[in-house]
């Protein structure tokens, strides 16, 4: 296993100082593909937002093994959350990925625009980059959002429920691509999902939020066929 990139030390997560889950100690290895797994309401989005810095931890600390600069996250939110009122093309949305490197009041340089096109191409979104984002299918939106995440030049690619609002074929294509990026570019991937099958198929490690507890480990151990079958029988998943 590679060295830990993100470490949570006795962390409590929640809202307005009210913990939802407490005593979380785990680490996410560099270049790993980790799934945060759990049913709706288990706290996986809260955990993700805390790791991303969108929510402060209620207690404990989160460390990133970087050389001083803050960790760069390429965040892929759920595509259904975006308001269709914005008149943005796929390219406009993907271009936002480079904004983190450009100071206020400065134009986006031509080089960054070219890089965004490369990211759209890499994510298989080049052909619909000129179309309105709101009019794209769920799978196409996911690809544009992945291109935007890649445009941030991320150290960690974070996907929040990429299967939401996306058909089975598109989900498979998106996860295959993310798996490919993880292997080829050695980018750490953090996938939030309630889909056990996807987690088992793609993730090397799993953080499983279940009935107020947090379990971590290699996918093969934590989500063994016997164990998942047993849980299905008990109606727990």
């Amino acid at each position: 296993m590679n060295k830990a990139l993100i470490t949570l030390d006795n962390v409590s997560i929640g809202y307005n100082s009210q913990p939802v889950l407490s005593g979380i100690s785990l680490s996410i290895a560099d270049a790993s593909f980790t799934a945060i797994l759990g049913v709706n309401g288990s706290g996986k989005s809260t955990l993700l937002k805390t790791i991303l810095g969108l929510l402060p931890p209620v207690a404990g600390r989160i460390d990133a093994a970087t050389s001083g600069a803050p960790l760069v996250f390429g965040y892929v939110p759920q595509s259904i959350q975006f308001d269709p009122i914005y008149l943005l093309t796929g390219f406009d949305v993907a271009l936002m990925g480079v904004y983190g490197r450009i100071g206020p009041g400065r134009m986006v340089p031509a080089g960054e625009r070219d890089f965004t096109r490369e990211c759209l191409r890499a994510a298989g979104a080049e052909e619909f980059g000129g179309r309105r984002f709101a009019e794209l299918s769920g799978g196409q939106k996911q690809r544009v959002l992945i291109a935007r995440a890649l445009a941030t030049r991320p150290e960690v690619l974070v996907l929040d429920e990429p299967t939401a609002g996306v058909d089975r074929e598109a989900t498979k294509a998106v996860l295959e691509f993310v798996s490919h990026i993880n292997k080829e570019r050695k980018i750490t991937v953090l996938l939030v999902t309630h889909d056990f099958a996807s987690a088992r198929h793609y993730a090397g490690h799993v953080i499983w939020l279940h009935e107020g507890t947090v379990m971590c480990g290699p996918t093969g151990e934590l989500l063994s066929v016997e164990r998942v079958a047993e849980m299905f029988e008990r109606g727990e998943v």
Partner: protein
Amino acid sequence: METLSQILSPDFLLRNSIYTSVLVGLACPLVGVFLVVRRLVFMGVALPQISSTGVAIALSLPMWFGFKLAEHSSHSAHTLAFIGSVTFSLSAILLLAFLERRGRGQPEGRLGTAYVVASALSILLLAKNPYGEIGWLDMMKGEVITISNSDLVLTAATLALVVAILGLFHKELLLVSFDRETAIIMRKKVVLWDVVLYVLIGLTVSMAVLSVGPLIAFGFLLIPALTAHLFARTMHQFTIMASLIGGVVALLGFLIAYTWDLPVGPTDVVLLGALYAVAWSVAAIIISRRTTAAG
């Protein structure tokens, strides 16, 4: 055409009124675009009225505290009105935006109440105020007649400021509006950008209310942006189209009002409403034809 060349002539008596109307028509939609995409349309309605209440309260201060403004000097009254308008606009937009962000209560209820109370309070205060007689009540109704040179300069300066800030910081304001979470992850100062946007909206509304009154202000804040949204394909097109619609309608509205001796404000707003209705119908027909062709 003759009337048009007459009102555009530098010697035209009401030249300040027409220049100011057109500048307000150009400036208000620029910030109105953000009210529309952030789904803050009700705020666009309530804010000009709250701003005009600020004007009314500021003009009531001399009466309440028993001092008189210099006779025949509208400058002091204008300064007081400007302070009242800006103070109320900025305080209201920052407070309402804060409450919106907290997500408690009913935003529509809050804004509706603020609008109706502010309307009533403005009329009550100005009805009992000596400065109400020198044109402020007319202003509240949208009569754009007595526009001073300083009002014109203030309007032009505000337009320049709005264009400069929106041009310079468009990407930051757009990112924070479209995807706040990503902006935070990118370590953008989201609260700062919200404040920049709200201050810009507050200043534009104050300037518009002070120059042309609340009726025209909320007409131009929202209707050009809503009309442009029906046809624009990109955010740049949306912004430019909304601003141009505002400017052109302000000019046409003034021309119609001057020709038929009508109050400018209501004429502008009715014209904007009619244009929106026609644009909406045309857009609906286009969508229906596209759907039929695709099906």
